[in-house]
Amino acid sequence: MKKIWQIAQYTLKEIFRDRIFFVIIGFSLLYLLAIILLSSLSLGQDIKMIKDLGLAGIYLFTLITTIFFGSLTLNREFESRTYDQLSIRPVSSHIFILGKFIGLFMAMALNIIVLYLIYLIVILAKGGGFDALSLIQTLFLFEEITIVISLNFLISTRFPHLGTITLGAIMVVLGHSTILFKTVGIGFTKFIGLLVYYLLPNLEKFNYRNSIVYGQHPGFENLLLAAFYALAYSAILLILTTEIIKKRTR
């Protein structure tokens, strides 16, 4: 446990040392302030628009940061051969990957919290009151990034940094369109479609932004189910990642 925590702390520090992390956060903050201007063009729909675009912005910028660092974290270790040096020490691959995962998750969680606080201040300043329901969407976002991080970890075992970013982004787009595979084809093609549907991460299970803005509660059972799904799916991906890098060092 101590080793996991040490690796997590090291990963967190490593991300904080990277200027790109703060550049992305800076851009996100600028974006959140810019939507105030944009919403003033909306013919009286200011609050709705700030909520829509604000939640969308938090998601997109978190996604960009997660995909970027999710693909960089392991690749950096492989490219600099740090992992090979670690493998001689008594640190198992499981501990290493879990530590990296927790470190990256903490950094992304911090990123989300900062952006969400700014979002709340913007809504309050525009007279929209305290947007309590959006907090639930933020919890869904925490769940979603566990999958995105693990997915990028898995991809980065086989692809270089740029390739991981590209594939990670494609997987996220697919993850929001999995319903297409569920409804496609008949007979055998339908079976294949269903197989792909269950294999791909279903990221729409974490998306309640569109209804939350209209005050519709997604329900705690959905939050809980999504949490189970995220944990189970991420665990599988992390186990696969560990097994692949174990083979790599043999």
Binding site: S42, L43, Q45, M49, A56, L60, L180, N210, V213
Partner: protein, 265 residues
């Protein structure tokens, strides 16, 4: 010599750039603006990472920019814009009411009604949607039964201002068609938070006020001559009116055989 050549070259290049800008601006003024391209909502739905409301908001901003562009004479893409907005965000009530207010003016009366009805079917909880639906039925379809029905729906909608109930109750018993129309626009003017709708209502109310003034003047004209005037200009000759008020909606008026002001063809 070298310096002169350099200055000459810079001046020549500046002249070329100014001339090409001037020609390009002049061309843009003459040639009609191309209609914008709007990506199909089904495609946007698949690529927007589930951020449908945010995508809808961006298209809503484009809709406002498009409709607010005074250099265009007509807005054939307005329906496409609004359909895309509400396909992505089915509960976006402002888009429905905006369509109901502005689409009929572009010749899309049935489409406006369809849009408004779609909004009601999707449980949009804004009283303005059924109210504007009633307005569209009353003004453009001359269907007072449907108008009364939607006025009642608007009055029954949670959050509707109290005088909407009054308008709904008095719609059937109110005298002539014009008074009913005034009643409806009065409701919009007094209750809508939407500045665009308020502005439109103010113009319509002024329009009907002018018609009432012309009607009164026509009765005075009848008292003096024994005949009704055919055009408002005739009222000026007998000094019944000092000037003909200009209609904010840009219409010209004539009188029918009963001496009532009607729109000129």
């Amino acid at each position: 010599m070298k310096r002169f050549f350099l200055i000459g070259s810079v001046l020549a290049l500046a002249a070329i750039s100014i001339f090409s800008l001037y020609i390009s601006d002049a061309e843009a003024e003459i040639s009609p603006k191309p209609q914008p391209f709007i990506l199909d909502s089904k495609i946007i739905d698949k690529i927007d990472l589930g951020l449908h409301n945010a995508a809808s908001d961006m298209i809503w901003i484009s809709t406002i920019q498009y409709f607010g562009d005074n250099t265009r004479k007509e807005y054939p893409k307005l329906l496409d814009y609004l359909s895309t907005v509400v396909s992505l965000d089915p509960l976006f009530s402002r888009a429905y009411s905006f369509g109901l207010l502005n689409l009929p003016g572009e010749g899309n009366i049935d489409q406006a009604i369809f849009l408004g009805q779609t909004g009601l079917d999707r449980s949009v909880t804004d009283w303005e949607v059924p109210y504007y639906l009633a307005t569209t039925y009353h003004i453009f379809k001359r269907d007072q039964q449907a108008a009364a029905k939607y006025l009642q729906i608007a009055a029954d909608t949670k959050g509707a201002p109290s005088n909407i109930s009054y308008i709904a109750a008095n719609y059937g018993s109110s005298g002539d068609d014009r008074n009913k129309t005034i009643l409806i626009w009065q409701g919009i003017y007094e209750n809508s938070n939407d500045l665009d709708a308020k502005d439109k209502a103010e113009k319509y109310l002024s329009h009907f006020l002018i018609m009432n003034i012309l009607d009164d003047a026509a009765i005075k004209y009848f008292g003096k001559t024994g005949n009704f005037p055919k055009t408002p200009d005739e009222l000026l000759f007998l000094n019944i009116l000092r000037e003909i008020p200009s209609d904010p909606l840009g219409f010209k008026f004539i009188f029918n055989e009963k001496g009532q002001a009607v729109l000129s063809e």
